[in-house]
Symmetry: C2
Subunit: 387 residues, 2 copies
């Protein structure tokens, strides 16, 4: 049977190489090998019990029908209240759209704002789906190379240099995946002002914002004209539930509602009910304890990797990633990732999953394992690099 | 604050007018009025208990992390086995992709197959999201007017008449939403052969297939070259869980996997585990009982509507809709829907939600209420139409 003609986008959307690493890791494990998983962007922690119990109650109470496309009103209010209490960001609940993961929020925002011929500025390295969402919408992702000089973040100067008349949106992520670095709030403000005067949309990915370890969590959601993407996956430890949200300008909500009705009808109902428990004080206390554990892991593993010869010029302030220059160990980090897996039983993500800029010189380590496992990884790395 | 420039698609994606009807119905109910809901495409039945209990077990067992983008292997196998046992359709499990609702499956299929300049043939009236998915992908939905002469289905003759060199896909839905009519298997086979020789993709929406009441459930999924969309929402009564599937040709699966990884990462994990219980014999017995209840409602309400003066030339063989020509009562069914709501407390969906062809002459009644409520609706309709 021969393949049919497919849309050009189908050839332009790259695979996640980490998925091959993961598949090979699982194959190794099935032969009895021990693999330390530092590859996937998913915390090892379980969803906190109050959220799970709220999900169970929702199922028992029959909350299995559709919600409205924008989400449960109570959840939209709770998300707005969380923005106020945690970040002092005033967000009207009717600006909050509950989505199937941050993926749904990105699809909505880029689907609304960008089409053929439009350009979206974003950082390279960056979360790979971002450029693929733009490609899906037939827009062009303009990947701007960033490095330690700007903390692996876009700056206003970089944006000005790469903007064209076709620029429709600037997409920032703070903290960043894969680098964990944050954008200073003053720079974010300047970029906001610049976008505002030019009628360019600003999209801020804040899915790791609540996982900022050294203070300085600033949400852009309080600004009426900005699109802010967030998620219950990372800080709230609800990855598999597939729940996120978008804070949008008021003018955009009716069009986003139409897109949501058509693209996914609504986010999963049991997950929406469960998420209501995410903002309870007891749950937040548990989440803060988890966050504290993640910070300890960073504080353990960052100096370890540096000592071993990996170069991490900017200490990451958030997320759960270390984006390490491994060029001292060869000029192909994808090859290195495969050798690390085969020879040391350590799964990592090669830089090519995050763009092209110095991608072959970098590996991403996700510290989504307990410190004891990170210590074991340290030993293995030490022996591997000695060999 | 002024709106930013948006993509052209944002203006082309129409709202669901039924959502306004629903909102007004809820407003009426909040003032104490009784409204009979025949508008939404969602069964009134709860999710069967074995599925709910499996969902609860999944949550208790900590199944809250991501699955792979294609879905739980066990679920893909169970879906394939269901195709074999119910429809004698041989489907290799690796051709099954678990999606967030049929919405996710349609987005994957049209995202893979269609882009700028491409055309997709589909029936008018039809499920409105279909043309919007095509529009989202910058393709053109070619809505082919259908009526009682072809049982409100596309025929090979209609397809041949509307096909152009730009035609990339034909989208069929059997049973159809909003008409509940089915496509004869012989005609489906002819269309398959025609598409096959012309390298045109055939997409068959089978989300109501298991809700065919008079025999003759034929799945196209056994054909290796066809894309088949299905869902746990309708027959399996899992609407709010957001779970569906796509059966795709083997050659297409790697590209669809990349799209899925980027567009939604994976379908909700607890829902995937819950759905494993959907294929248990006890669950299927419950589902068949529900289906029998739906058939009784059709057999009750179809003659009622005809007697009242609505014209339903083709008796629907499936789904849970009656698509009724109401032109005897005026030339604007949207206006009639609003009057039915205000004056008789009956919520329906105006034809304009399903296209443009004779849309103002039609209303869709969803028989998603118990027979006692349908009887009450009958009384109200009688008095409303007398007045």
């Amino acid at each position: 049977m021969k393949p049919l003609p497919t849309a050009a986008r189908a050839g332009d959307i790259a695979p996640f190489h980490v998925m091959d690493i993961l598949a090979r890791a699982k194959a190794l494990e099935s032969t009895g090998r021990d693999v330390i998983h530092l590859e996937i962007g998913e915390p090892d922690f379980a969803t906190p019990e109050p959220i799970v119990e709220a999900g169970i109650r929702a199922l028992r109470d029959g909350h299995t029908h559709y919600t409205s496309a924008l989400g449960l009103p109570k959840l939209r209010e709770a998300i707005a209240a969380f923005h106020a209490s945690r970040w002092q960001a005033q967000v009207a609940p009717n600006r909050v759209i509950v989505t199937p993961g941050a993926s749904g929020a990105l699809l909505l925002a880029l689907g609304l704002l960008t089409g053929p011929g439009d350009e979206v500025l974003m950082a390279d390295p960056g979360y790979p789906c971002n450029r693929h969402f733009a490609r899906f919408c037939e827009a062009r992702a303009v990947s701007v190379p960033v490095d330690a000089g700007s903390g692996f973040q876009l700056t206003l100067a970089l944006i000005e240099r790469h903007a064209t008349p076709a620029t429709r949106a600037v997409l920032l992520a703070t903290p960043s995946n894969p680098t964990g670095t944050t954008l200073p709030f003053e720079e974010l403000t300047r970029i906001r002002d610049w976008c505002d005067t030019r009628n360019i949309a600003l999209i801020v990915d804040e899915i790791y914002l609540a996982l900022t370890y050294d203070g300085g969590e600033h949400s852009a959601a309080g600004w009426d004209e900005v699109f802010v993407v967030n998620s219950f996956s990372k800080y709230f430890l609800m990855t598999g539930w597939r729940l996120g949200w978008l804070v949008a300008p008021a003018w955009a909500v009716p069009a986003l509602e139409r897109l949501a009705q058509n693209l996914f009808l609504a986010a999963p109902t049991p997950a929406q009910h469960a998420a209501l428990a995410a903002f309870e004080p007891d749950t937040l206390a548990m989440l803060e304890a988890r966050k504290s554990e993640l910070r300890q892991r960073r504080d353990y593993f960052l100096p370890v990797l540096r000592k071993l010869g990996f170069v991490i010029p900017t200490a990451p302030q958030g997320a759960f990633y270390l984006y390490a220059d491994c060029s001292r160990f060869g000029d192909d980090s994808h090859y290195l990732a495969n050798r690390l897996l085969d020879d040391a039983g350590i799964a990592t993500t090669p830089g090519i999953d995050f763009g092209t800029h110095q991608a072959r010189h970098h590996l991403r380590f996700a510290y989504t394992q307990p410190i004891a496992r990170l210590a074991e990884a340290t030993d293995r790395l030490f022996h591997f690099l000695q060999a």
